[in-house]
Each structure stands twice: as C-alpha cells, then as structure tokens.
C-alpha cells in the first residue's frame, strides 16, 4: 500500500510538472491524417508528438478541476465523491475508441490487462481479449480468440478462401444503461458518475446474475474471490491521469482513450474522423466503447 502511494504521487507529479502541452488537435491536422488512413495504414506515423502530448493534455486537463477546487476553498460536500488527489468523477466522462483497421492482433492489450489488474492467467478469465474474424468466400465467418490472443494467433489454413479478415479487441463496454448494474441484487455493481462501471469485491455475493445479464461476455467470476470481475477502464490509472494499460501498450494506437465531453480529446477526434459502430446496438445498452470500421459479422 505504501509503495503504491509513493509511485502514484510520482506519476502524478510527473504529469503536472511537465511543461504546458502545445495544443495539438487542430482540425487541419486531423484532416490530413484522415486521408492517410484511407490507405489502410496502421497509423504508425500519425505523429509521435501526438501520443505524448495527448497523454499529457488529458492528464493536465484532468487535474485542473481538482486544483481549482482546492484553491477556491468551496465547502466540501461530504456526499460528493472526490478520489485521491482531487479527482471528481462528475467532471469526467470516459470513452474508448477502437479502430479495427489498425489492430494487428498482437494481444499486448490482453496481456498487459492481466498484469495490471491481477487477472488469473488461466485462459478462462479476461477483462479484455482480441478476436480474429476471417470471413470466407461462402459467407461463413470463422472467429477465434485462443487464450484471448495473449500469444497472438497462428496462421492455420482454412479450406475456403478468405475474402476479408481483421482483429477485434473486446472489453467491457461501460454501458450508459448497464444491464449488469440493473440486475445486481445488492448494489455491488455500480456506475460512477464518470460513466465507469465498477464491482465492489467486498460486497459482491457471487450470484452471477450480472454475468448472465451482460450481453458482451465481459464479466467472469474470479476463481479465488468468487466474486464478479470486469474491466474498470483501469480506474486506478485514469483517476491519476494515466490511460488504461491496454491503451498504453497498444503498439498501433488501435485503442484510443479519453474524455467524451471535452472538445480537445482524442476520443472526440476519433468520433469525428471515423464512421462509428457499437456492439449489439439493438439492445440499447449505449456502449462507450466505440468501434471504427466495424464489420457486420462482429457481435
């Protein structure tokens, strides 16, 4: 616990002390990138400055309300949730963008997720995983995700010719109307004001009703604690100004993370530049994980 605090402070100071980020998201820049991406590129060149700056910008933005609050000496409302160093959930709204055409199926996200969140290494428990879709000439879709793609994929030959193929990272969709929260009998699953759906390990009775209610298979029962588990958008990271582990390690920036309601946010740009789809739209869960270049076979 102690160690944790030290490192967290270190990381926070880092984000705060670095010099002011230059404004990076101007529309002209975006447009030029758009044309590039039409050529089915993995976006590796999209600008290294952007990566660093975006990370800084989002972390800096995130810390501002907290700092202002401290300066004005408002009367603290005991029922207003303030976490760590002044992170106020009500000032944020998180979303993730996934560009399917950029994903190379390396599975680094699934691997990092297990390390960051102490997810059991057995191949039955995943907070995030990557699926491979191979659509054959006869229209059939062959889908697989061996060990959640942590060891990437093997090229096994199929009988039919593939007409299109791609990888789809999956995770909890942090629904606006989460069915899992709706059905939890005791209030152990809940949605914080910033839109992230969390599970209270100590309060969960392990009834598995939320696992049944999740349309995305994003939850599992932890074999040791026997309580429900799921992706938290790496909540312990985002409250400190870091991005989720899967986003941090994605080598092709197929995963984008940011604020949904702030203009200078990578997710807003992502929504502007791409045609966006969500999973199982008809269920009206209103996911906050958005997919660019989503294929009809994905579900």
């Amino acid at each position: 616990m102690m160690n944790n605090k030290i490192i967290n402070n270190k990381i926070n100071n880092k984000s705060l002390n670095t010099e002011k980020p230059e404004p990076i998201i101007d529309s002209a820049g975006c447009d030029s990138v758009r044309y590039d991406s039409e050529h089915n590129d993995a976006g590796c060149d999209a600008g290294r400055r952007n990566f660093v700056n975006c990370a800084l910008a989002s972390s800096a933005l995130m810390m501002v309300p907290g700092m202002l609050g401290a300066g004005e000496e408002e009367k603290p409302d005991p029922n207003e949730l303030v976490l760590g160093d002044g992170y106020r959930p009500k000032d944020h709204k998180w979303g993730m963008g996934i560009d399917i055409s950029k994903c190379i199926g390396c599975g680094r996200c699934a691997d990092a997720c297990k390390s960051e969140n102490d997810v059991p290494r057995e191949p039955f428990y995943f907070r995030t995983w990557v699926e491979r879709y191979r659509i054959l000439e006869n229209g059939e879709a062959v889908v697989d995700s061996p060990n959640g793609a942590i060891d990437s994929f093997d090229e096994d030959k199929l009988d039919e010719r593939i007409i299109r193929s791609f990888f789809v990272p999956k995770l909890c969709n942090q629904c606006e109307h989460p069915p899992c929260v709706q059905v939890c009998p005791v209030g152990a699953s809940y949605r914080v004001e910033d839109g992230v759906v969390l599970v209270d390990r100590d309060y969960c009775v392990g009834c598995s009703y939320c696992l049944q209610a999740c349309p995305y298979g994003a939850r599992f029962l932890h074999p040791e604690t026997r309580t429900a588990e799921k992706c938290t958008f790496c909540y312990h990271r985002i409250v400190k100004g870091l991005v989720p582990a899967c986003v941090e390690v994605c080598p092709t920036q197929a995963r984008i993370f940011g604020e949904m309601e702030k203009k200078s946010s990578p997710i807003i740009r992502f929504m502007r530049m791409n045609n966006i789809g969500v999973l199982k739209h008809s269920l009206n869960t209103e996911p906050k994980v958005f997919y660019a270049n989503l294929d009809k076979e994905v579900r």
């Binding site: 616990m1 160690n3 944790n4 030290i6 490192i7 967290n8 270190k10 990381i11 880092k14 984000s15 590039d36 050529h39 089915n40 590129d41 993995a42 976006g43 590796c44 060149d45 999209a46 290294r48 990566f51 660093v52 990370a55 029922n79 949730l81 976490l83 760590g84 992170y87 055409s101 199926g105 390396c106 680094r108 990092a112 390390s115 960051e116 191979r134 060891d151 990437s152 994929f153 090229e155 193929s165 791609f166 990888f167 209030g187 152990a188 699953s189 809940y190 949605r191 969390l198 309060y203 909540y235 312990h236 400190k240 991005v243 582990a245 941090e248 390690v249 080598p251 092709t252 920036q253």
Partner: protein, 249 residues
Amino acid sequence: MLKLWKKFPGQLKRLILIFLLFVAALMTARHFLIPHDYGQYGNYRGGSVHEIANLEVKYAGQIVCVDCHDDIAEIKFAGYHKNVACEVCHGPGAAHVEDSDIELTSPRGRDLCILCHEYLPSRPTGFPQIVSESHNRVKPCISCHDPHDPVPPEAPKECSACHGTIARTKSHSYHADVECVYCHQASPEHKVNPRENLPSKPKTRDFCGKCHAEDADVEFGIPRVDMDAHEKRYVCWQCHYPHLPEAGQ
C-alpha cells in the same frame, strides 16, 4: 388507541406482536449490518470506489520512462517504434520507477517480436511482417534489428516484406508474373517512411487496356474485352480484383 387494541381478537393481537417483533429485528439488523458508507454517493458502498481508485499501478506509462531514459527515448521517438510504449517490451515498470534496483527485462529471443511481426493474413496490409520459419531462423531479431530504432539492415527489396497478403494472393493468380512496380511506382522514400510516401496506383481504364484491350499489342492468351462496349461506367478494379483476377472462373 388502547380501546381499539382491546377490541382486536386475541389471535390478531398475537400476530401483530409477532409482526412488530419481526420489524424490530429487521431494523436492528439494518442498523448494525449495513456498512456506514453504503448509499453515500449512490446505491453502493462508497468506500469501494476509493479502494478501486487506490489499487496499485503496475504500468508506469511512457512519460515516466522518458524522464530518466531520455537518450533511448530520443532514438525511439525518431524511429518506427515511436508509438510502441517502452513497457510493451520491457514489461510493467512502476516498481522499477520507484526502486531502480528492481530491474526490468529486455527480451532477447524472437518470441516477443513475432507476436506483432509474424505474418498473419488478417493483419492490416502494409504492416511489416515476416515468416519467422524462413526468416533467419536461428538468429535472435536483435542481432540485425535495433528494437529502439528498427530499421532493417538493408531496405527490403521485395514489396512482399511488408505486403505479404497481397504478395501471396498475387503469387497464385493470373497476374503472378506481373511485377508490383508495373502498376505501382514507389519512391525510394516509401521504404523509409511508407505512409508519407505512398506508391502510385493506376488511374484509368486505359492502363488495364494496355494488356486487355482488343487491339493491345501483347502475347496471345490474355483475355481481351472491347473497352468501348464493356461496362464503361466503371474503372476495371471496381469489378476485377487486380491481385486475383477471376478470368476463367
């Protein structure tokens, strides 16, 4: 009140007493068993958000690495791996940030590299891939490629080094013998900075017509069409996939 109570039949009085006892027991249980912070912010235990927010961070994030390792960062940010965060290869580094005695690993074999660079037809075209079975089988990748600046020791001569899927498709098509450069002209910079220097693509029907028009001056056996009569609204590749033309099917 007391008068009313006296009017009740005896059995009803007993039931009411039991009911009140039950309610009292429930209230007592609620008082003692519900965590004090339950319902503080919503229909959940308030403390749980703090517990989750305080979980240990394991991946420190690239910004932190750069702070000490600015020399390597400088190299890396100029190369192809600029978007590959340090911890992708070196593993979670938060513990190392706090205590530099805790060393991170540096992968030396081929296993980690091929997770991204092994040839898979499902990978986006243009992403550099190799077939590890035939690509310098015994040598570790780092003996030829610096992972912080992974420039190939010599720029690949073959387009297939990066465009494996297309190369494979084309290799068993009628166009197997047509060189890539016949249709696409790539500047030398394309090999260094591919996305900023995209190769050309044919633009007109006449380009295909050089071989497939009825009056084309090419060898016998190539399928011909009447360029004026045949689907004039379209350019050829709207219907025919040039890397796998369907002639004969």
